[in-house]
């Protein structure tokens, strides 16, 4: 009975909560981004090696972090749905995927733009770049697979399996610079060591990362609301909602 409750109550309960939270996340995202950009362009010092070009870091690194993190969150939701058969989980995973793909694309794009001045080329087939590209394809594959299966329950479960399968790629992205010595830079922010970069740079990056994170919440929640409405269009509460609106 509890699982039944779980299964049927969740989307309905989540819908209004998400609706209330979205503006907050959106505003937070905006504020944090403005602060981050301010730090990035007006406070952080010019790099003595790379000049101004290094400021791409404030887009690149947060985007890369969030792209990986969102994948883990998406796979987590998907796995939850597979294990517990909760309906909201699959919708959450679907809602996160496009944002994740967007940040992955942003990381690739900003990295490529950064590569030109620093490495002299937009693209090299190095391990981190490759595995990040694989991440993009995993997001796209996840969305394509879900789109190809018309029955939403089956689509959720099939998508969940693929998402879980792809989780292996995330540690590969993260540790690839340690496992293979490549062009790309290693981690300079670590929990165990003192940060090797300037405090202002770290601050800017963190601000931007949080902004991206809040933005992800806002977009994922608004997307999940649309998905809930579509999937539950025949449910009583949606009809009431529509009647009220």
């Amino acid at each position: 009975m509890t699982s039944r409750l779980f299964q049927f109550a969740a989307p309905q309960a989540f819908f209004p909560i998400a609706g209330k939270l979205i503006p907050w996340f959106a505003v937070l995202a905006g504020v944090l981004a403005l602060a981050g950009l301010y730090v990035a362009f007006f406070i952080a010092p010019t790099d003595h090696q790379q000049g101004e070009a290094y400021r791409i870091i404030f887009i690149h690194v947060p985007a890369a972090w969030v792209s990986m993190f969102l994948y883990l969150v998406m796979a987590g939701w998907a796995g939850l749905g597979l294990a517990l058969n909760t309906r909201l989980s699959g919708m959450m995973a679907s809602a996160i995927a496009p944002t994740g793909a967007m940040f992955t694309f942003l990381a690739l794009w900003s990295g490529a733009l950064w590569g030109k001045p620093t490495w002299g080329t937009y693209w090299v087939w190095d391990a981190r770049l490759t595995s990040e590209l694989v991440l993009l394809f995993l997001y796209l594959g996840f969305m394509a697979l879900k789109a190809a299966i018309p029955d939403p329950v089956r689509a959720d479960r099939a998508g969940a399996i693929l998402a879980l399968l792809g989780v292996v790629n995330v540690p590969i992205i993260y540790f690839s610079v340690q496992w293979w010595n490549t062009l790309h830079q290693g981690a300079s922010v670590s929990l165990t060591r003192a940060p090797s970069m300037a405090a202002t740079m770290l601050l800017g990056m963190l601000l931007m990362a949080f902004a991206a994170w809040m933005y992800s919440f806002a977009t994922a929640f608004s997307r999940v609301r649309a998905i809930i409405l579509e999937r539950e269009r025949d449910a009583e509460w949606v009809r009431l909602q529509r009647a009220a609106a």
């Binding site: 391990a127 490759t130 394809f137 697979l145 190809a148 099939a158 399996i161 693929l162």
Partner: protein
């Protein structure tokens, strides 16, 4: 175990009946590998540098071509349904099908690789490396490919979707497989590449069959 043996036996039996299906994969492999010089131009040095990559890409495409059929026929004629309701653990059945796939595509390709190596003028030790890398790497294609095939089962237009799902996953295999040979050619110790390939094999042998089983249950719900 006995269900593993009986499924595997049946796979091989059916392949034999289809008169030379395994042979087809081989010939396909050779034809694709022979196509490259046409597209790229026949300079000997360039060819030698490309040999491993070409052999590996051919192996990869042969896998992609054969994978849509891995479960489709059993799905269409109801055999898969029977496998799901049978007392046997589904994982054993899937493992048997994966083994059959590798014996019929991966293994022949690994054994035929010397042909391509010779065609492209690869020296003997690089040839050996090529075979070893194919022997370690092609099972990965079968393991991950089985998961992809199960995920796209019953999804019409599955062939192209399957390719889309698994080709990106095959990339690391290709990189390290071809990388090992190139390393050998340029005098670098290839063992790092090969051990990475081994690690990928270990991981995929665990997650591939798991994902395939789960996906099959979903497909037949």
């Amino acid at each position: 175990m006995h269900s593993f043996v009986s499924v595997l036996r049946r796979e091989l039996q059916i392949a034999l009946r289809r008169k030379g299906d395994a042979l087809n994969v081989l010939v396909f492999f050779i034809v694709v590998a022979s196509l490259f010089p046409f597209g790229v131009g026949p300079e000997a040095n360039q060819l030698r540098a490309m040999a491993a990559g070409v052999a590996w890409i051919a192996a990869l495409l042969a896998a992609v071509l054969s994978l849509p059929r891995l479960f489709a026929a059993d799905h269409a004629d109801g055999t898969l349904e029977q496998m799901l309701v049978a007392p046997q653990p589904l994982a054993l059945v899937v493992l048997a099908k994966i083994t059959g796939h590798w014996l019929l595509t991966g293994l022949p390709l690994a054994l035929a690789a010397p042909l391509i190596g010779l065609q492209y003028g690869l020296p003997a030790d690089a040839l050996g490396l090529l075979i070893v890398s194919l022997l370690i790497g092609t099972p990965v294609l079968s393991f991950l490919g089985a998961a992809g095939a199960a995920l796209t089962l019953g999804v019409r237009g599955g062939g192209a979707l399957l390719a889309l799902l698994i080709l990106p996953l095959f990339v690391p295999v290709l990189v390290f497989g071809a990388g090992a040979v190139t390393a050998g050619l340029t005098g670098i110790n290839p063992s790092a590449h090969l051990s990475l390939l081994g690690a990928i094999l270990a991981v995929s042998s665990l997650i591939g069959p798991w994902a395939a089983c789960a996906a099959l249950r979903v497909a037949l719900d």
